[in-house]
């Protein structure tokens, strides 16, 4: 692709090469030195900066053979002036669980993209995919072929299961209550068809966090949120606690007073936790990682329904399974069973562009639980109803 490059003046963008934070403009220019698409992107972006408006059109449906997802079609509305971004589709490549790479793997990806695209990427997209940022329709299939040869595959887009993601978990964190990367890989492989071939009312996302710190924001960003937790006593090393106290942690102010379960006592010698009132918030552990640790009976809490505000307002996932062990193959299969049970009524009765969280709010959590065969549990709610408008359906059968 080394033909003659058009040279764009970019006074506004040049401003963004200055300053200590790494500059995306420098990145675009680096690619623009040799890549026509990147070069036209630079020109188009300067234009947007000048006019304070984007220059992209709605993307039509483009993709690779046999897949419905994984590619976001994009075309500029100024194709004459910027012919090399007349097509500028992005490809979503399913990242390895936990976003771990080797230098070699990164180079392989870079080489493929240099052959077929803009030379620009996102590491990563906010769902978790590797984003190959911008190429032409005819390049999609060859890129895909090389990716799969190299052992990579596309992620989700459209109304399908989206690329699952997870925190680094047991690979690099002492607090992981289950193997987030293993479960994420398992689910990703199990749902390959559903990830690649949209067949749902709308998107459906998985995120796996190893503990209640929720480092992948599962509760806010995934329809199906798996968050690690424990059931038994917090592990305490009293010696270390005293150590922290000596080194200036004000245990009463910073921990006792801030514990939401109000279940910690500190007499200057010993830290007592009434575990029966512990809310598993992680705070005390976070502040004294060398002294405290989650218990030994570990597993996860499963929550359902998170989404962004469009269109009925944002929703956070809510508890659907208060605690589940995740240490066996069966336990992974049980998760799949649960997911399938959840997908079924949603796929059948969900409206077009209705996320599962919106669906549950429409039909009511109680009815939804009946539909998927789970018993109502007080853990699923913040508090029981305050309004007296209770349905006593039983009689409908009776009579």
């Amino acid at each position: 692709m080394a033909e003659q490059m058009k040279k764009y003046e970019t006074p506004l963008l040049n401003e963004l090469e200055k300053g200590p934070w790494p500059s995306f403009v420098k990145e675009i220019k680096a690619a623009a030195e040799w890549n026509q698409m990147a070069n036209d992107l630079l020109g188009l972006l300067e234009r947007s900066y000048r006019e304070k408006i984007g220059h992209w059109k709605h993307g039509g449906i483009v993709g690779v053979m046999g897949y419905g997802g994984g590619v976001i079609g994009r075309y500029t509305n100024l194709p004459e002036e910027f012919p090399n971004v007349s097509h500028f589709h992005t490809m979503r490549i399913n990242q390895p669980a936990g976003w771990f790479y080797t230098a070699e793997a990164l180079r392989t990806l870079a080489d493929i993209w240099d052959r077929h695209g803009s030379g620009l990427t996102n590491f990563h997209g906010s769902t978790g995919d590797i984003i190959f940022l911008g190429t032409r329709t005819e390049e999609l299939e060859p890129t895909f072929a090389e990716l799969t040869q190299a052992g990579f595959d596309l992620g989700g887009s459209g109304s399908d299961i989206r690329t699952p993601s997870c925190c680094c978990g047991m690979a690099r964190c002492e607090w992981a209550c289950y193997d987030t990367m293993k479960l994420t890989y398992f689910l990703t492989q199990h749902y390959q068809d559903e990830i690649h071939r949209p067949a749902f009312p709308y998107k459906f996302k998985f995120k796996c966090s190893g503990c209640p710190n929720d480092c992948v924001a599962a509760i806010a960003r995934a329809d199906f949120s798996i968050i690690g937790t424990w059931r038994d006593e917090i592990q305490i090393d009293q010696e270390m606690v005293r150590e922290y106290a000596k080194n200036g942690v004000d245990i009463n102010k910073e921990i006792v007073m801030m514990c939401p379960g109000r279940c910690i006592e500190w007499d200057g010698e010993e830290l007592k936790i009434d575990n029966s009132s512990c809310r598993h918030c992680m705070h005390c552990i976070n502040v004294m990682p060398k002294a405290l640790a989650p218990g030994k009976d570990r597993g996860a809490c499963i929550l359902l329904g998170a989404k962004a505000p469009i269109v009925e307002g944002a929703i956070l996932s809510s508890v659907i399974v208060p605690f589940v062990k995740l240490d066996t193959e069966e336990s992974f299969n049980d998760i799949v069973e649960l997911i399938d049970a959840i997908l079924e009524p949603w796929i059948e009765e969900g409206k077009n562009r209705e996320r599962v969280g919106e669906f549950i709010q429409r039909v009511g959590l109680g009815n939804f639980l009946e539909a998927i065969g789970l018993d109502p549990q007080p853990e699923m709610i913040r508090h029981p109803r305050t309004n007296p408008y209770v349905f006593y359906e039983n009689y409908l059968e009776e009579e």
């Binding site: 963004l16 300053g19 200590p20 934070w21 790494p22 995306f24 990145e27 675009i28 680096a30 972006l45 304070k52 408006i53 984007g54 059109k57 709605h58 993307g59 046999g66 897949y67 390895p96 669980a97 771990f100 790479y101 080797t102 230098a103 990164l106 180079r107 870079a110 030379g119 620009l120 990427t121 590491f123 906010s126 940022l133 799969t148 052992g151 595959d153 047991m170 690979a171 690099r172 964190c173 990367m181 890989y185 990703t188 068809d193 690649h196 710190n213 924001a217 806010a220 960003r221 801030m258 514990c259 502040v287 640790a293 962004a308 505000p309 269109v311 307002g313 944002a314 956070l316 077009n352």
Partner: protein, 360 residues
Amino acid sequence: MAETVQKRITDIGPPHYEKFLPPIIKENYGKWKYHEIPRPGVIVHTSETGAKLYTVRAASPRLLSTTKIRKFAELAEKYSDGYLRFTSRHNVEFLLSDPAKIDPLIQELEAIGHPVGGTGNAISSMVHTQGWIHCHSSATDASGVVKSVMDELIDYFKTMKLPAKIRLALACCLNMCGAVHCSDIAILGIHTRPPKVNHELLPKVCEIPNVVASCPTAAIRPSTFQGKPSVEVDEEKCMYCANCYTVCPAMPLNNAETDGISIWVGGKVSNARSEPMFSKLAVPYLPNNPPRWPEVVQTVKKIVEVWAANAHKHERVGEWIERIGWPKFFKLTGIEFTKQHIDDFKHAGLTYKTSVHLTY
């Protein structure tokens, strides 16, 4: 590319992560005992076995050229046996087993313009989205605003002197791909005018019932324009969510003069101490002012600094505001409280103050 045409491979999923784990992680997988953060950007994880893993975290603009990717690969080979990862906030992390290599790596990273930090009670990279670089829907740019804000707040990335973590995020439209709805400080691109219906195009490219159904406030009615079927928008009812545009290209909302940015505060995701919270509206509108969005940068900086000066240790922005009360937040930040801050959507009534728990 001869070989690629041979046989078509599909549905293989991503490579197995184990291929990419350094030996020290394979050996200590699930055995980590505790961590320490000896200095900003360096996290040391110690295993039951006594083994220690040294993570060096560097800033990333997220938008990376293949050139930079090769550079990272090169650094990884030089310092961390070829192993590295990226974080859920898009920073790059090098995974070292030899502490002696920490300093030289940091020097090289700083040298190529990738500051090291973002750990502990710091401002880490901003989760953000595409903006003018790739999305048709954007009301502002993403990368440029992030760059401008982080240039100003860089000191908080490179140190750990804040009361707690503070998570910043940006989304360039209400779709909120950056999931900014639970951030300590969120920057949100907004349209402030109703869609301009393209009556020519609409009947050709859109299903009118879908368009009508897409509107949460029922502002869209079917109509006819010069005999052809189209829709009309009751502008009084429209709050510019752009959902109609998402389903129908003939209803653009983008507007160079009136698109802009709103600022949201007090959200969080973690369960630490308080339950996860949504971000709440702080500033309804700031103008799009590229290339450096000074109004946005200064507003965010002001909020960060007022919080830093007043919060108790470990208090996230939302927790701090809950303790001092919203009236104090507006007083301390000097942000004006307006009618637009008062919820008027579905559950508005539940946001009214139903007690005399006030501070004077």
